[in-house]
């Protein structure tokens, strides 16, 4: 019998006021694989992703029901510290969001907050993460420039490195390549594939070709409902639900 995956979503429903955005979603996210969530825009993909990170907490009028377990810990248990949950997940957003500080400080931001003060160890760590994101050679001479001066593609990889620096277990990508040129997109995709040997990766996208390129596992969301999910090969070759078939053939988008 396979061991239970670290991240399990159980009967998750989310609504903003009267509008129900996610309806009773249950999903096991396989460890150390890339799980891609696809679906037309407005289907609740981003909401699902943000609910994993408890980023919905601060939204006015949001109601969340159900459970999300990480290692048997329910992240919506009121006793659980949101910062502790968020640290376990690195988020890569649609547009790269560099913090208003230098390249170095962007990476060092998380570790510093979590108590790492030693300059030397910080330097080592920054170098390691920049290398992991494939950015070191490009920025090693510009570490103390404002991060906003990097190109958009570099910024997104910086964001990836920054997320890795707090040693998360899971990487969340919210259409992480949608603001990038094809060249930079490819680099980011390659990084994600390389990272799955150590991390569980969840990526939201509405680009089917991207899903085919990187996914090990797929989940299809439609109008807030989890229609179908399964291993990538099977999902593409043999979709069971008619709505999935319609989406794959481009009839609904």
């Amino acid at each position: 019998m396979e061991p239970q995956p670290h991240l399990r979503i159980r009967n998750l429903s989310v609504s903003y006021g009267a509008q129900e955005v996610l309806k009773n979603v249950s999903l096991d996210v396989p460890d150390r694989k890339i799980t891609v969530i696809i679906g037309p825009s407005g289907c609740g993909k981003t909401t699902l992703l943000k609910s994993l990170n408890r980023l919905l907490d601060s939204v006015d009028g949001v109601r969340i029901e159900g459970h999300i377990f990480i290692d048997d810990e329910d992240i919506y248990d009121p006793r659980v510290e949101a910062t502790h949950i968020r640290k376990k997940m690195g988020l890569l957003s649609q547009k790269p969001q560099v913090l208003p500080m230098s390249v170095f400080d962007n990476i060092a931001y998380g570790p510093k907050i979590h108590g790492l003060r030693d300059r030397k160890r910080l330097r080592v760590l920054v170098e390691r993460e920049l290398k992991a994101a494939g950015l070191w050679d490009e920025v090693k001479d510009r570490l103390h420039e404002p991060a906003s001066r990097l190109s958009v593609g570099q910024q997104q990889r910086l964001c990836l490195a920054r997320g890795l620096a707090v040693e998360p277990e899971i990487i969340l990508g919210d259409e992480p390549t949608s603001a990038l040129d094809p060249q930079s997109s490819r680099i980011v995709e390659q990084r994600l594939i390389a990272l799955k040997s150590e991390y569980t990766v969840i990526v939201v996208t509405h680009i089917l070709r991207q899903a085919r390129r990187i996914a090990d596992h797929l989940a299809f969301l439609y109008l807030g409902e989890l229609v179908e999910h399964g291993p990538a090969a099977e999902f593409f070759a043999n979709p069971r639900d008619p709505r999935t078939r319609a989406y794959l053939t481009g009839e609904i988008s």
Binding site: R86, L91, P100, M101, Y109, P146
Partner: protein, 294 residues
Amino acid sequence: MRRLKDLLARRAMFLLTAVPGLLVFLMLFGLLLRSRAILAFHSFTGLLFGSGWHPLKGEFGFLPFLAGTLWVTLVAMIIAVPVSLLTAVYLSEYAPRSVRELTKPVVDLLAGIPSVVYGVWGVLMVVPFVGKVLAPLFGVYSSGYSVLSGGIVLAIMVFPTIIHVALEVFSAVPHELRETSLSLGATTWETVKHVVLRKGLQGIFAAVVLGLSRAFGETMAVLMVVGNVARLPKSVFDPAYPLPALIANNYGEMMSIPRYDSALMFAALVLLLVVLVFNLGARFILVKIERKVE
């Protein structure tokens, strides 16, 4: 016909657009012209830094009044800046929407209250509070008409200005940037401290400067509670005599003493110059910060 009307309107509007610039220039020019009478007898710096004020003897030293203005403004800003910024942070980052919606009109109303009303309130509450409660607490005597009273009243008057601008600045910081910091495991406060405040630095700076320029020129409310004694204040419990109060208090007799009216116009000129320097300086620094942070 329509074209003609359009053309005429355009000309007229163009001419009117010159009004604001012209007005600044005219004010400078007019006040300078009127100050010439006094500047013919005393040097600019002699006036500013002279400490004797005896109009009847022809002695006009503005130092006590400058000091009074500085003291009161400083006290006001020391109170107003942290309170306003903390309130703005709370409203924009922590408060539930209902609280925010309830507090905003309060801030607007606070901004609308006329300065005489602030003054009346100051006389009724702040002056006795400072004189009978705070001063004895620190073991000093004070009538209550003091720098501190002026500073407290002024601080409240400045709240809405700073809060309003700061709220705008915070709402301009992208939501995703906050999420980024949060998702790295930062607390809301850490996100505010390292990201929101940093991103909004120049806007906050502008908010403080706006508050400052509102504070230092305020006349009636301060005049009613600071005591108006032309001496250098030694503590916040001493009375002071700010520059605007000097002008306002002496309009009646200024025509009867030689060069007195000119001295008061000079005081107005100094106020105007300070505003001008503030504005130019703020703009200069803003541009510099902008380059640094991007």
